[in-house]
């Protein structure tokens, strides 16, 4: 027996005879009655995902604002560093001043 041919023949039979699409009597009314009886229970995961999705809009807005503010103040800082008498070395010296021990100070102790 040719199984491949049998397979095609049976699939052809299933295609030729689609299932009945008949709907039981008063089915719509039964569905509505069932829905009225059981109140809609929201899916907690869906609600959680929807809240996150909604929260993303203000988050992005805050991100854009902060990025703009940071860029703007960064621009001010960089212009400050180009001023005469203010360099990166001056900043480093000022920051490390507290931890730097003068040469020979340890010997004095």
């Amino acid at each position: 027996m040719n199984l491949e041919q049998l397979h095609k023949k049976l699939i052809g039979a299933a295609r030729l005879q689609p299932p009945d699409t008949g709907v039981p009597y008063a089915f719509e009314q039964r569905i509505l009655a069932r829905l009225r009886r059981s109140p809609v229970v929201a899916d907690p995961w869906f609600e959680w995902a929807r809240s996150l999705w909604r929260a993303s809009v203000p988050c992005i807005a805050v991100l854009v604002l902060m990025a703009g503010w940071s860029w703007h103040s960064g621009g001010l800082g960089s212009s400050l560093s180009h001023e005469p008498g203010f360099s990166a070395e001056d900043l480093e010296l000022a920051v490390l001043d507290a931890v730097d021990t003068p040469e020979g100070a340890e010997e004095d102790l």
Binding site: M1, N2, A13, P19, P24, E28, L35, D43
Partner: protein, 199 residues
């Protein structure tokens, strides 16, 4: 507050859904009436007992009602509905896979006659015979849920791999792999029938 408007005929799906989402449950009835025949046709492909078919369609409509607000309206409602229907049918198959009976050994007289006619001359076995329809239903019942779903969508409903991927949520390569496995499973079942009857 639930209200039932008297005029719902002629409204589009989107209009009816908008009304349902506003709390008008009555607008859901024309949607149920419009699409239930299609859903019953789909459910009858996966369940044989009429009580199971009705349970599946009720489950689909419950899910539709629960998730109605997730329909965004950028694709036809029917596509969204059919995706939900196929998922529900697949869940049904997975829940009932342990209840599958080995029905390949007890073929009816008509089914055996049809197979004998096919064995003698494949052209003589008519495709429109009830026996062929029952035989293919028996064979499909032997398949795993994924294989049955793929064979039904790909070969019986003649959908494309891309369409099946969109309906099931599987990737295109996964659909192809499952289609390959499903055909192999089907061949195995056919071989069993052939061996039991003709060897």
């Amino acid at each position: 507050m639930i209200t039932i408007p008297s005029v719902t005929e002629g409204k589009t799906d989107a209009e009816l859904i908008a009304e349902v989402l506003k709390g008008d449950l009555g607008s859901f009835e024309p949607i149920v009436a419009r699409y239930s025949p299609r859903l019953f046709g789909t459910a009858r492909r996966y369940a044989r007992r009429e009580s199971e078919v009705e349970d599946i369609v009720q489950e689909i409509w419950s899910k539709v009602f629960q998730k109605l607000s997730t329909w965004r309206g950028d694709a036809p409602f029917e596509h969204w509905l059919m995706r939900l229907a196929v998922h529900t049918c697949y869940d049904f198959l997975r829940q009932h896979k342990r209840n599958r009976e080995d029905t390949l050994t007890d073929l009816t007289r008509e089914e055996e006659d049809w197979l004998e006619r096919f064995a003698a001359d494949p052209g003589q076995a008519p495709e429109d015979a009830d026996a062929a329809r029952l035989l293919v239903a028996r064979l499909l019942e032997q398949l795993s849920p994924a294989s049955r779903l793929v064979i039904t969508l790909l070969e019986i409903e003649d959908r494309s791999v891309k369409e099946i991927a969109a309906i099931t949520g599987w990737s295109v390569p996964l659909v192809k792999v499952r289609a390959f496995r499903a055909r192999a499973e089907m061949q195995k079942c056919l071989r069993r029938v052939a061996q039991e009857k003709y060897l």
